[in-house]
Amino acid sequence: MREVLAQAWTVARKDLLLEFRTRTALLSAVVFTALVLTVFNFGRDPTAVATIDLAPSILWVTFTFAAMLALNRAFQLELENQALEGLLVSPLSRLSLYFGKLIANLAFVTIVEAVGLPLFVLFFDVPVGHVLLPLVGVIVLATVGFVAVGTLFSAMVIRTRFAELMLPVLLLPFLIPPLVGAVQVTARLLAGRPLSEAAGWLRLLAAYDIWFVFLSSVLFRFTVDE
């Protein structure tokens, strides 16, 4: 297991270094997040629906689509000079490759969310100070689930035509459970309700994470091997 994690970290470090060098995907995702929040901010009628009722959905829709950009680039960079072929010839285990990509994607999406959350607070004037820690906890819990599934699907579509279109079409149905859970918990937190009220949703998010990290890591090799 130590060997698997060491190799996963080698892959993740390489991905993050490449992203740091080019910054194209990260910048795109951050700008995309800011633009979506801006559009939602000016495109709603605050007298029709209270901001506090709308805010959780807006937050999670924004995070989900920004994460798509990250997931799309995860295997795209392995097509450069067919590096993926080199990875598959090497002794790198498929499990290490999956976890390496998962770690890099999580880091990437976390950065986008870290930029997106303050912008969300700024645009929608939602007080999150008193619930910041539980809110961050929910964001982490939901992000792990959808990035785990997204990493699997991004590997699956990479050799298809129109991979960037295929990914959201295939992935979004699988994201409904964690999205619903995350919106429900966030709504209760922002409304000042106790976290215990959302215990069922939190359990759903945790179960989704465990099940889909396990399932995706098992199925991953079938998506990359010829």
Binding site: T10, L17, N81, V89, L92
Partner: protein
């Protein structure tokens, strides 16, 4: 060291491998000649573990760690430097952290690329990228080298240097499998020669004392001018 037994593989109706069997021991170099689409690349991919054959088996002593692969693509990341690429691949092949830098320096020196170590791959010419790809394939000191058209993109001097390097590796007991459609390339390196046509080894024999002209003549006689295989 390396063996293949009854390999068969098809892509739909196209036969890529048809009952291919052979084995090689340390110091042997097999040159596989065949027209485009004869199944040479498929055979190398099966040996490298990239494709699972539909029948038969291939075995390399030492597994994937023992294989160095030079294919049609460099497998290098354009936005990493040559050295960063080598260190990354060395790490994946299990070269201990303390030895990676020294090992990378040795292969870069041998390929005349020491002064390019800190250059990003995107800034290199095609010939230099090919040399960097060869350095990547050698960085973990593989026991078996699988080479698919390795001379592509190299100028005459670099191709000569690569031939000399491969000769050294053969002398050091490495097993080399070289696939090419050009009979003039790599003949002098080979201890064994195979002609592949429509997935099948139509001839597989030690090179003996045969030179490039004799091999080319035998190739024309056995394979003919067939350019439409597979």
């Amino acid at each position: 060291m390396l063996s293949a037994e009854g390999l068969r593989h098809r892509f739909g109706r196209v036969v890529a491998l048809d009952d291919v069997s052979f084995s090689l021991t340390p110091g042997q170099t097999l040159a596989i000649f065949g027209p485009n689409g004869a199944g040479k690349t498929t055979l190398l991919k099966v040996l490298a573990g990239l494709i699972r054959p539909q029948a038969g088996s291939a075995r390399v002593s030492g597994g994937r760690r023992a294989i160095g692969w030079i294919g049609h693509h460099s497998h290098l990341y354009d936005h990493l430097t040559v050295l960063e690429n080598l260190l990354f691949w060395a790490s994946l092949y299990g070269v201990p952290a303390a030895r990676r830098g020294a090992r990378a320096a040795v292969v870069l020196e041998r390929l005349g690329m020491s002064d390019r170590a800190e250059q990003p791959v995107w800034s290199l010419s095609r010939g230099l990228v090919q040399r960097a790809a060869i350095a990547k394939a050698l960085v973990h000191d593989p026991q078996v080298l699988l080479l698919d058209e390795p001379f592509t993109g190299l100028d005459l001097a670099a191709a000569g240097e690569l031939r000399a390097l491969l000769g050294e590796l053969r002398g050091a007991g490495r097993v080399l499998v070289l696939a090419t459609h050009n009979v003039d390339e790599g003949v002098e390196l080979a201890t064994d020669v195979a002609f592949q046509r429509r997935g099948r080894f139509v001839q597989f024999a030690p090179r003996g004392g045969r030179g490039a002209a004799e091999i080319a003549e035998a190739y024309r006689r056995v394979v003919g001018g067939d350019r439409t295989d597979a």
